[in-house]
């Protein structure tokens, strides 16, 4: 089977990922703002040419969107390097049909690379709705490469695109068809003529060589500099450049060519595009009038967020009891089947209790991700960036930091990666450092559990909203402090596109929610399961026979059931204290004691370094062991309420809000920040902040509550 390697290049938000999803079954994440694809994505699709009956393997490399080939942000650099140095057969340039001129600017730069290329006029259905007509045949002639109209969402033109890819892959490379203004063309002709006279031997065409010389391409100069022809060529090129300077009134050759590209793109657009009505634009305009209104915009945004957190709690609570009940039923059954020995305890108290306590929060996670996906795909995120930039800027952040920060409410891993859209190194590091303050989805179960246990269900949504807001505010304050003392330096300019509002398809949103839920459940089934078993083991062994014996004797002598239960509980906690886990907890007790945490809470926090979900499952295992004889209070909630004083619970929430994100996120952080030392800084920074604030929260609430 013949293999064709294709790189997908285009400006941000033109639907490259959607297009791949349309041609294959791959499920890439799709959003409606710049920077969804931050790293190269690769996949294979097979295509059968029905006429010749040959099968092809098309290897697609999806590159991050880039507005131009000037390396401005890190993702643009990824794209540029891949285009210049990558080994591929052809470029598929995806173009947003509704923003033809701006997109053709990149097309022009791509043409200059002299590679084989297919131009995809994507979102053609949307363009038609807006009354935009594009003559793709004429555009093909102007650009010298085939142009295909497609719509990823309607699956239009996918087959034609595959055909063109195969066709172009077998063609000769075509020289760039970009035509410059007369005064530049004149100079190109002059240099070309000189090469012809000398019958100069080169792998490039004379025209290409001439253009590269005029563009002051370092590589070309290096090569030609060592050849005898240089002596004469030098004068000709210098003269040509002087003519260009004279003509344009600037000495910056990059500027001169940038203007040329722009003129070419605009010219091409004028020739092939006509616009009849402005319907869709008015739609965006009308919504924007309200959503980014000077005064109403920000309150509306907060209302949206508040509603989201309300829904997360209120709707999420409905199936929660059911899940909880079914897992405790399963646990009871397991004990009946397996007996009360170590195996029964491992399955019921370790595996089922641990996994069950995490699975309970699946509905909450799904609603939260649904909300975030909705905000992402409609294009609202960019509006919020716009509104908040002024405010963010005061804290040393960039309006664009908003996108990674909000992503951080879902999961820190993609959030760290989304920070790549920030060009300035300082801005990026600063954003990376405070992403952790945006409580991720995995911390949600802890909050839900503690709020439910200590504040009741009545105002749970409000409490949840408050926790997230406090986290965000703490993040901003930290940003300010870090900006003032650590990450000093110049600010990045703020120039950002505001995409049109799009109604996302339900399938698209479902796919995001489904993907996230699946990975959450996968984690529960593997990682959490293993961690629960380990916690169970560490909390059961070594078994102290003496304690057990002496208590059992005492229990037998007692008469009433009540006294028996009380003593049995006492025995359990005595045993726990003697276990491995109890030892670890005791060893670190000095650190957590001033915050009012008992050793069980300390252990939960320590295991939580692996993943935040483990905090809940650890508590589940530890407390289900401690109270298994008391059937009246089976649920973890009431166990917590019984054993933990309110100030400690508040301090615990504060600590969870701030301390280091999970293991996976920490790894990504180290990679994105550019070194392990940054992870160390982050660890010290978050742990110190968490400790100090928890300490304050504990003591202040103790005073207020009068405990």
């Amino acid at each position: 089977m013949e293999k064709i390697t294709v790189v997908l290049a285009g400006q941000p938000n033109v639907g490259k990922s959607s297009l791949i999803n349309a041609i294959s079954d791959a499920k890439l994440k799709v959003g409606n703002f710049a920077g969804v694809t931050v790293d190269k994505m690769e996949l294979d699709i097979t295509y059968c040419d029905e006429q010749t009956c040959t099968d092809y393997m098309i290897h697609v490399v999806d590159l991050p969107g880039t507005y131009s080939l000037v390396d401005y942000t890190q993702e643009e650099r990824v794209t540029k390097d891949a285009l210049l140095e990558g080994d591929y057969d052809l470029i598929v340039n995806v173009v947003d049909s509704t923003h033809l001129q701006r997109n053709l600017l990149l097309t022009t730069e791509l043409l200059e690379l002299g590679k084989k290329m297919v131009v995809v006029l994507n979102m053609i259905d949307e363009a038609q709705n807006e009354g935009i007509e594009i003559d793709e045949k004429q555009l093909s002639i102007i650009l010298g490469v085939p142009c295909v109209k497609t719509s990823a969402s309607q699956k239009i033109g996918i087959k034609e695109l595959e055909e063109s890819i195969v066709k172009v892959a077998h063609q000769q490379e075509t020289p760039s068809k970009v035509i410059y203004s007369d005064f530049i063309e004149e100079e190109i002709d002059r240099i070309e003529f000189f090469f012809q006279m000398r019958k100069y031997k080169t792998s490039l065409s004379y025209r290409e060589l001439a253009i590269k010389l005029l563009q002051e391409d370092t590589q070309t100069y290096k090569k030609i500099h060592d050849e005898p022809i240089w002596i004469e060529l030098q004068h000709i090129v210098r003269e040509a450049l002087e003519h260009l300077y004279l003509h344009t009134g600037t000495q910056d050759i990059k500027d001169i060519f940038a203007d040329e590209y722009f003129a070419f793109a605009k010219g091409a657009k004028m020739e092939v595009m006509s616009r009849k009505s402005m319907r869709a634009k008015n739609f965006t305009q009308k919504i924007d009038n309200l959503l980014i209104n000077k005064y109403l915009g920000i309150p509306i945004f907060f209302i949206f967020m508040w509603v989201l957190f309300q829904l997360t709690f209120e709707i999420g609570a409905i199936p929660m009891d059911l899940i909880d009940a079914s897992f405790s039923w399963l646990g009871d059954k397991a004990k009946v089947v397996l007996g009360n020995g170590w195996l029964g305890s491992l399955v019921a108290d370790g595996m089922i209790a641990g996994v069950g306590s995490v699975m309970m929060f699946l509905p909450n996670i799904m609603i939260l991700f649904f909300g975030i996906a909705l905000l992402e795909t409609t294009g609202y995120m960019s509006r919020v960036s716009f509104m908040l930039d002024g405010f963010f800027h005061r804290f040393g952040l960039h309006g664009k930091s908003f996108i990674p920060l909000v992503t951080g409410f879902g999961c820190s891993v993609p959030a760290y990666m989304a920070a790549r859209t920030l060009k300035n190194e300082k801005d990026r590091l600063l954003t990376l450092f405070i992403i952790g303050f945006m409580s991720c989805g995995a911390r949600l179960p802890i909050y839900v559990l503690f709020i439910g246990a200590f504040f009741g269900d009545q105002n749970a949504g409000n409490w949840l909203f408050l926790i997230y807001m406090i986290g965000a505010i703490l993040g901003l304050i930290s940003a300010k402090i870090l900006h003032l003392y650590v990450f000093k330096g110049e600010d990045e300019p703020f120039v950002m596109e505001m995409p049109k509002y799009r109604l996302p398809s339900l399938a698209l949103i479902w796919h995001t929610v489904y993907g996230q839920s699946k990975s959450y459940m996968k984690k529960a089934g593997t990682f959490i399961l293993a961690a629960s078993m380990m916690v169970w083991f560490a909390s059961n062994y070594p078994k102290n026979q003496e304690i057990q014996k002496s208590y059992e004797q005492k229990i037998e002598q007692l008469q009433t059931q009540e006294e028996k239960t009380k003593l049995a509980n006492e025995m359990q906690s005595q045993l726990l204290k003697e276990s491995y886990l109890g030892k670890v907890g005791e060893a670190s007790a000095w650190f957590f004691a001033p915050l009012g945490f008992d050793w069980k809470m300390s252990i939960a926090l320590e295991t939580g370094l692996a993943a935040k979900e483990v905090v809940v499952s650890t508590l589940g295992v530890l407390y289900s062991l401690g109270g298994e004889t008391d059937e009246q209070s089976a649920s973890l909630r009431s166990q917590l309420k019984e054993h933990i004083p309110l100030p400690s619970a508040i301090a615990f929430i504060v600590f969870v809000m701030i301390y280091l994100p999970c293991f996976a996120a920490s790894m990504v952080f180290a990679r994105e920040a550019g070194g392990w030392k940054y992870l160390l800084y982050l660890f010290v920074f978050t742990t110190t902040t968490a400790w100090i604030l928890s300490f304050l929260a504990y003591n202040v609430s103790k005073i207020i509550l009068g405990v």
């Binding site: 507005y67 000037v70 701006r102 990059k254 509104m387 505001m498």
Partner: protein, 78 residues
């Protein structure tokens, strides 16, 4: 006159861009170049950021960047 001095609803033609080459490149990749016509669509609180429309593209700019763009005003919506 500078872009940052315009108000919501104002229309103008870009006369000159006084920025370093990185910012100028970025602006030109969005179509913000000399001779193009733009319209101010809105400003955020305290005019920290402004939204402009150019060639059917909506762009958000900070006041700092807007003050580097010289324009001449051509229309106004009262």
């Amino acid at each position: 006159m500078l872009l940052s001095q315009l108000h919501k609803g104002d229309e103008a033609v870009i006369v000159r861009i006084n920025a370093d080459s990185t910012l100028r490149n970025r602006l030109s990749s969005f179509g913000v170049v000399r001779g193009e016509r733009l319209k101010v669509k809105g400003c955020s609180l305290a005019k920290k950021t402004m939204e402009i429309e150019i060639e059917h593209t909506l762009l958000a700019l900070r006041e700092m960047e807007a003050s580097k763009i010289e324009v001449s005003q051509v229309g106004e919506v009262s």
